[in-house]
Amino acid sequence: MILDLHAHSIKSDDGRAKVQNYCQWIRTRKIPIDGFVLTEHRQFDFESDYSALAAEFGVVILKGSEVETEYGHVLVFGVNESFTEAFDMASIRLPLRDVIQTADRAGGIAVPCHPGRPRVGMAAHIGTYGIPEGVRIVETFNGGSRENEDAIAQQMAREHGYRGIGGSDAHIVSHIGRCATRFNTAIHNEQELVAALKSGEFEAITFKEQAA
């Protein structure tokens, strides 16, 4: 099963894509993914129910968050109220250690994204803050990466023994599925996604060259 683990809809302030349009694009353009995770910026979208869209298009639609820490941006999967109540989700300076630990306690998992990116990636802050504790997975393929940002992420993963995921970081419809993560098991909900990530049985993949 292949899921794009990093996408934004119009629920994010800079998102320009409606979820329905992502679904239509995946089906009409035969994008080779089975679903995607909406990781809206600095929030968790408790309100939206995409189950009807998921059923109509045969696409798995899950929800997570992208929060901001002193080490840059971090995806959180398996977000629930015990996680959101622990933080001001809108803050751009959440402590990464707390995000990782709180996500774990809440039954989720935190994954630094685009770690090779200037300013908002983990690599840019290791010199200042040191190697963060508790990181197990980083995003090694990001659809919005420029130049050598993914290479930096992959090098970091090799050096520190992190597993790698892929996500498009799509903000517009045509970018969905540019990068993704292949799992060995079927995933239908956020809990199964977290379990699959914690199992380590997955690999990051990219379709960027096909999309170009």
Binding site: D13, H41, R42, E68, G72, H73, A90, S91, I92, R93, R117, P118, R119, V120
Partner: protein, 158 residues
């Protein structure tokens, strides 16, 4: 208060203080009245072809939905609003049409700061101010809202 007094690097506390002081407080009120020709001209300039927006003789003639984005308050920002140190840019507009705006009607526009928030991106930290203008008819019925987002990209510390 001089510009130098209020222009400085952006701290989260500054943003929170600005939220507490300025959000949801109307700082500007202005009245407008528009002719049918103004609506029709705006519509044609936008490439609109629907007669209810381009033909003043149409029984449902009204302002096109995006018309409120062309309106400006007397004051762009509230008095005393902090001048964050950085590069300012327009970050987009959004309009929510609620009821038709008719030619000849007196429209009252009230403007407030609807949100202030920060985010970090590839180019650094940014602070967004979302300015909302609400348009009312003479019965105080809300006709539309027009949002303007202004972003300040923080100047790196030297």
């Amino acid at each position: 208060m001089t510009r130098q007094d209020t222009e400085h690097n952006i701290e989260e506390a500054d943003i929170q203080a600005a939220r507490n002081q300025f959000m949801n407080v109307v700082y500007d009120e202005k009245t407008f009245s528009f002719t049918a020709d103004q609506f029709a001209e705006f519509s044609r300039a936008c490439g609109e072809t629907a007669p209810r927006y381009t033909d003043p003789t149409h029984p449902e003639f009204q302002a096109p939905p995006t018309f409120p984005t062309s309106l400006h308050p007397n004051k762009r920002m509230p008095d005393g609003y902090p001048r964050f140190n950085g590069l300012g840019m327009d970050a987009g507009k959004a309009v929510a049409p609620i009821r038709p705006i008719r030619a000849g009607e007196t429209i009252t526009a009230r403007t407030h700061v609807h949100d202030i928030y920060s985010k970090s991106g590839r180019s650094g930290r940014m602070v967004f101010s979302l300015i909302r203008m609400e348009l009312f008819d003479h019965q105080e019925t809300l006709l539309a809202t027009a949002d303007t987002s202004i972003v300040i990209r923080e100047k790196p510390a030297s």
